[in-house]
């Protein structure tokens, strides 16, 4: 079980708990605004863009090449941008906070 906090553009915090699947699915299943996941999580659409604060980056690791390429199609790309369909929930992510980018 991992507790994950999504902070939306309007500063609304949503604390969710998940055991498996991707962060994107956790977000869309709980109505987190700004996470759409149009391609269903196959890294094809860039509509699940989040920023990972520096102190949490060790938990999430680095984006893959495909993910970095695809991120270029999204707005508000920063060094700490990730597509959260590529982040699989494990206990290691417990306590993670991400900021929805758009």
């Amino acid at each position: 079980m991992a507790q994950i906090t999504f902070v939306t553009k309007n500063k609304e915090e949503k604390v969710l708990e998940g055991t498996s699947g991707s962060l994107m699915k956790l977000a869309t299943q709980n109505g987190v605004k700004g996470i759409e996941g149009e391609c269903g999580g196959v890294c094809s659409c860039a509509t699940c863009h989040v920023h990972v604060p520096e102190e949490h980056q060790a938990k999430t690791g680095e984006a893959s090449e495909i993910e970095n390429d695809l991120l270029e199609l999204s707005d508000n790309v920063q060094d700490n941008s990730r597509l959260c369909c590529q982040l699989q929930i494990t206990e290691d992510l417990d306590g993670l906070v991400v900021h929805v980018a758009n």
């Binding site: 699947g21 869309t28 149009e38 391609c39 094809s44 659409c45 390429d69």
Partner: protein, 420 residues
């Protein structure tokens, strides 16, 4: 949101799949305060369809993981779901819809998100053949899985080499079926891509053990006690335990036609997704709409179009009209290959295939009409997909000589024509 005086009003949406559900939630975020009622004949909580031919069929995911929204969100957003409810016709004079069960429901705004359904070809013996399926709904995927589970020989014959047919072939092969695809045309994906891409996918399937045979026109099914004989017009014969039909879709246009809305290869809508009746909108697969990038009327079967039109529709209904102006994009996953496509390739007169360092399964196909880049198909090459998207959106000219040369670094600065 602009003034929409939506309090006390009713927006009825027919069709609770990608377009309908997206539209319902977008209406709420755009500020619609009245009722929202979503109808669908499918009794299941609305789900995401693309995995049906992929992760659902291979059983790596189940349908519950692929619901579009959990039931609780419909409740929170006060969206009424009327599932398993079939709409018979639209009464425009009364502004109501009439349901098969005899009920009726009035509307102030009506959205048709009624999609399409698989074509069932009039092949002799099709009604008598056992274990014959299409793949459009969760129920279809479940039936195919159950049939395969209870079958020893697992000989699957797929009629039609389009994306659904090929994805289904790859998925069923992955879980142990012996798959043959029969395509009537001389190549697979004939209706949706160029010969170069067709060839690649035919090779990919062959390499992975799926038998693809083109120029095969099935003319009859002969049911045997525990399998079916499939006969083609050239006399060839195949035996299969399970048959899947994937020969394309019909638009569900009857509701619109019977209501005398304008229909021509789909329900005609303007850039605000409005039909010929200003209180009736249509979104998704069922619409014939104008695409400003390509300056033509098109009908698209895609998630992108379903989502984007749904949002345009919601903002129009809420009095904040935004014209539809999105570049089409698509994807397909087969075996370990990720195909990403952007733009519409039809009308091209030149193709450039860019290979990356001799990697067989990483390349991109660039479609041009003269100097205009129309579309890009990228195979395991997201970089190409992203650059293609940007170039098409920016109407950029591409340096074709650099594009075709794999020794030149694949980055925008090298590929834009004004940077020669």
């Amino acid at each position: 949101m602009s003034e929409n005086n939506s309090k006390g009003k009713i927006c009825v949406i027919i069709g609770a799949s990608q377009a309908g559900v997206t539209c319902a939630f977008a209406l709420r975020s755009e500020g619609w305060e009245g009722e929202i009622i979503l109808y669908d004949s499918d009794p299941m909580l609305p789900y995401y369809r693309p995995p049906l031919s992929k992760a659902i069929l291979t059983k790596t995911e189940n349908i519950e993981e692929n619901t579009l929204k959990p039931l609780s969100l419909y409740e929170t957003e006060n969206i009424s779901l009327r599932l398993g409810s079939k709409v018979d016709y639209i009464n425009r004079e009364k502004s109501s819809i009439e349901l098969q069960d005899g009920h009726s429901q009035t509307y102030d705004k009506l959205v048709l998100a009624i999609g399409s359904r698989p074509i069932i070809p009039g092949i002799k013996g099709i009604n008598e053949a056992k274990n014959i399926y299409t793949l459009r709904t969760a129920e279809d995927a479940g039936q195919i899985s159950r049939a395969l589970d209870s079958c020893v020989k697992k000989r699957v014959l797929i009629i039609g080499g389009g994306y659904v047919g090929l994805e289904t072939a790859a998925s069923l092969h992955k879980i142990g079926a012996k798959v043959t695809v029969l395509e009537r045309e001389s190549r697979v994906l004939a209706r949706v891509t160029a010969p170069e891409m067709s060839q690649y996918f035919e090779d990919l399937h062959s390499e992975n053990g799926v038998h693809i045979i083109t120029n095969k026109n099935v003319i009859s099914f002969e049911p045997q006690p525990d399998y079916t004989k499939i006969i083609c017009d050239d006399g060839t014969l195949y035996n299969a335990d399970i048959i899947i039909i994937g020969v394309g879709v019909f638009v569900n246009k009857e509701l619109a036609e019977n209501a005398a809305l304008e229909v021509d290869n789909g329900i005609k809508v303007n850039e605000y997704t409005q039909t010929s009746d200003p209180d009736i909108y249509a979104v998704g697969d069922c619409t014939n709409h104008f695409n400003p990038h390509y300056k033509k009327h098109i009908r698209l079967e895609s998630i992108q179009n379903a989502n984007d039109q749904a949002k345009v529709c919601a903002s129009s209904i809420c009095g904040n009209p935004q014209a539809y102006n999105t570049l089409p994009w698509f994807w397909s996953d087969q075996f370990d290959v990720k195909l990403q496509m952007v733009g519409l390739y039809k009308g091209y007169n030149e193709i450039i295939v860019r290979h990356e360092n001799g990697e067989k399964h990483k390349f991109s196909v660039w479609y041009f009409n003269g100097d205009t880049l129309l579309a890009v198909d990228a195979v395991n090459n997201t970089k190409a997909y992203v650059m293609g998207t940007k170039f098409i959106k920016g109407a950029n000219k591409v340096n074709k000589r650099n594009l075709i040369d794999p020794s030149i670094d694949f980055k925008p600065a090298n590929l834009l024509a004004n940077n020669v």
